[in-house]
Point group: C2
Chain length 154, copies 2
Amino acid sequence: MGAAKAVAPPPVERVDTGFLESLLGYNARRAALTAIARFLEAMAPYGLRPVEFSVLSVIQHNPGVTSRQLCAALGLQPPNLVGLIRQLEKRALLLRRPHPQDGRAVGLHLSADGQRLMRDAERTAGEIDAGIVAHLSASERATLIRLLQKVYRR
Amino acid sequence: MGAAKAVAPPPVERVDTGFLESLLGYNARRAALTAIARFLEAMAPYGLRPVEFSVLSVIQHNPGVTSRQLCAALGLQPPNLVGLIRQLEKRALLLRRPHPQDGRAVGLHLSADGQRLMRDAERTAGEIDAGIVAHLSASERATLIRLLQKVYRR
DNA sequence: TATTGTTATACTCTATAACTATA
DNA sequence: TATAGTTATAGAGTATAACAATA
């Protein structure tokens, strides 16, 4: 065949990420980043980042929940929750009340302001989420969420 | 009905995360974190973190790719790629060669060692990934990946 | 002895502004 | 003037060790 010595390879025209796209982890991460980016924009008016939103949401639906329970439910480290709780308390969105049965623990509750904020924020979050999967059918969306849960639940 | 004044609410027994679990973003993030945790363990013997793995994988399948193209393909910021490339070059896993057409750019290539490492690492990554979705059927796995791509591709 | 909440701290990841060399 | 690569730097996010108060 022809001369095959020291032929400079042509520049890459289109980057092939085929192998990565065959991995579940890569696709889940990319999808999560897409969703989180939209979420960040939509929650900016409320002054809530994703972690703050999820913390307040769990407190709203579980009044009196403890820090420990929050950490377990959301996969957070206790030390990282301390500053978060303190800031949300400063903003008067949540209250810390003594735990009815355990003197070491503190029950977390939303204030009236916090409840109002979260009612609006959760509605907005639901709308944003629907927008992200607007080009999926309702059944595709349900399937996607069901399969994702199958992955991370043991 | 009964007396309803100042009754202390009972402690939370089981934390309800139902609302968060109705959001795609939350589920995608949890699934991604699960997959990444397994990936971290499996790649530790190769000394590769997820970003390093994805960078080397793209270079392997696109010899001569530039930093800029890598960043666009993987969603990285150029400044964050610099140190990564430098370390991988120090480990003699990749080579930087002048770009054949653009004097500003540098073409990235895997060394022979890098190619050997990535052949093994990609095989291991595929096995790990299969293990994460082992309790899903082959068709469920394909559906999951297809729907995730539908989310993050525009 | 174990657990809740906390402090201090460090490490990773990611983001932005500004510079240089070349196009 | 626009782009590729780089430097310096700052901000999130996440992790561990160790402590006081209570169980």
